[in-house]
Symmetry: C2
Subunit: 346 residues, 2 copies
DNA sequence: CCGGCATTTGACAACGTTGTCTAGGGGCTA
DNA sequence: TAGCCCCTAGACAACGTTGTCAAATGCCGG
């Protein structure tokens, strides 16, 4: 009782081990292990003595040693583009919740859309022997992962498929969503529709472009080269592209923005523009309904993406052995009035 | 060359170890260790043989064992409220970047504002022997952390101070920011100003309320009890509180929203309201400038909060031994026109 | 040609835990 | 009371790596 939690028998920075606890309680090492892990075969009296010693010394099991011995880390890795992006926050949280329900921790890493950094991160996680990986790929060649997967690290790709290897993947219906968005604009009378998207090496950008072209073709509309602009989503690049499209001799009357960052920049540019231009964006975002005109969006459920991927991952970890799967999560068009040819405001 | 990366000498799910590599290369275990870690004292010829064996077997160092041996995990833990909240995404990313620059990985956990869950998470991270912890506390008693900190786990609290222990903390200037926000409203002619904030047990909510009261007192204005409402930030609670304040006999003419979630809900309620009501919110959010009327906000730099905390943490890990520090990050009032007594729109 | 020194290499223990196996003690049955 | 079994408890090895130390080799100067 008068003993402090720090105990007496160890120095600062050196933690007591089960051996210390055993010595203090006057029992064997293994008995401490049993008590710590709630294993049966310990009399109440012995257990109490061990518990007292644990409290007195401030002992906490060293999971590094446990992990080494057991061969499982009870942790999974998540590599995504940028945790600060509002699209990935909910995804990460969803993965975390599933991990938690399976008693696992989540190690998070941002690739910053750099393939080299993605690989570095993924391999660092493999070296730590995470039980599984959820990867939103930045690169397009994941052969470097094949040996790791063969060695038992379950891997699920999300948002974009793996490159040059066969693996589980969970995608949004980018093609269908984009087609619906553009069809929405066409149904509201638009004929000249621009598309501003992410870099063409990114899978989602390609798919959304394909959806755009498909909707235009389906309606028998031509697509002028100047109506399509793929590249960085940095505000200056997107702003310049938007301005250029609006300044053309035959300017577009509507824009389809390829993701949330593009949408936000486009809204700002259109704000300062005299002629009303319709806008539909891929990805929903908070307050999209409060901006005037409200922004019609193709919403993808990023949390659902994460949940599905994590669920699939833990199925694998539970030993389910099936050929690689491909899940597709539907998107949802949320019309908010920005499709009309003459939106209010502006 | 004809050998696959998977090699020949180990079964599925069993990874080769340095011992396997040593056997194949015909060298000693320690020599493999030297090559893997780039230590000096290995002839080029030996190194090449070892590298060949590594490639052939698909060996990757097991960091679990390394960690156990070295006593450092090169990882830090971050416990926050909810990774899906746009306030925490940038903070987490900033912590990650600092960790990365120090060669450390980041383990992330959401407490869901539940003290028990916070403790569970923190102690799980301690059991894994993270080198350090960044904690955004949910609870108000952190004595459970004292033994861990004494044992050498550096800990920095962010956004809210630790409860009942002495520890480093990095805060926003909640009091000053709130006072500036309310003073802004007062300067624009408002006399009856409402405050809707988070639960009073949360430090930031208390501080912002204090700032609100201070600004009102400074201007010699009375504060009616019905103008202050603290509680959950769930939309229905906030919505009801907002509606009630507007329906009072002498309704408030302006609202100060205690955080981003409150602001968003308030905007929605005010939208459907006939009489114009001014609104200033704590926390900036994307598109705050595009909503009409644009929302004046007190911006806090959550990335800066994370960067500062992580920087402090790594200073501790580098052995800097000073008494616990308290940093305060300034906030910034961003006037966007919502302070006027008769904002446009509405 | 020998001693001494630097360089390369490997044997061994240790990190802290858990799985296996065996010893010892007590109670039950025949 | 002998024989058996069950229950508690601990000794020991193993997980895969790194730090320490010593051996072996080769080179240099005298």
């Amino acid at each position: 009782m008068t003993e402090t939690a720090r105990g007496t028998s160890h120095r600062y920075g050196t933690r007591p081990t089960m051996k210390d606890v055993a010595a203090r309680a006057g029992v064997g090492l293994k008995t401490v292990s049993r008590v710590v892990n709630g294993e049966p075969g310990v009399t109440p009296d012995t257990e109490r003595r061990v518990q007292d010693a644990i409290t007195a010394l401030g002992f906490r099991r060293n999971d590094s040693a446990r992990i080494l011995r057991k061969g499982r880390t009870a942790s999974i890795g998540l590599v995504l583009e940028d945790l600060a992006d509002p699209f990935y926050g909910p995804l990460s949280r969803a993965v975390e919740e599933v991990a938690r329900s399976h008693g696992a921790l989540l190690i998070n890493g941002s690739s910053a859309e750099d393939p080299a950094r993605e690989q570095e991160l993924v391999l660092a996680l493999c070296a730590r022997r995470v039980d599984g990986l959820v990867v939103i790929p930045a690169g397009d060649d994941h052969r470097y992962l094949a040996p790791e997967m063969a060695a038992g690290i379950a891997t699920v790709f999300v948002d974009r498929p793996a490159g040059r290897i066969d693996a589980d993947v969970v995608l949004s219906d980018n093609f269908g969503g984009a087609r619906a968005a553009v069809a929405h604009l066409i149904a509201h009378g638009h004929r000249r529709i621009g598309f501003i998207g992410d870099q063409p090496r990114i899978h989602t950008a390609k798919e959304r472009l394909r959806g755009y072209r498909s909707a235009m073709a389906e309606a028998g509309l031509p697509v002028d080269d100047s109506w399509v602009s793929l590249g960085s989503t940095a505000p200056d690049r997107v702003g310049a592209a938007t301005t250029a499209m609006l300044a053309a001799p035959e300017p577009v009357t509507a824009l389809f923005a390829g993701n949330n960052r593009v949408t936000v920049t486009a809204v700002r540019v259109l704000r300062g523009h005299s002629r009303p231009v319709a806008l539909v964006g891929f990805d929903d975002f908070e307050l999209a309904d409060l901006v005037r005109p409200a922004i019609t969006v193709v919403a993808q459920d990023s949390a659902q993406l994460g949940r599905t991927a994590a669920g699939l991952l833990f199925r694998r970890l539970d030993g389910v052995d099936e050929p690689p799967q491909r899940w597709e999560i539907p998107t949802r068009l949320i019309p908010r009035g920005s499709g009309e040819i003459r939106p209010a405001g502006g």
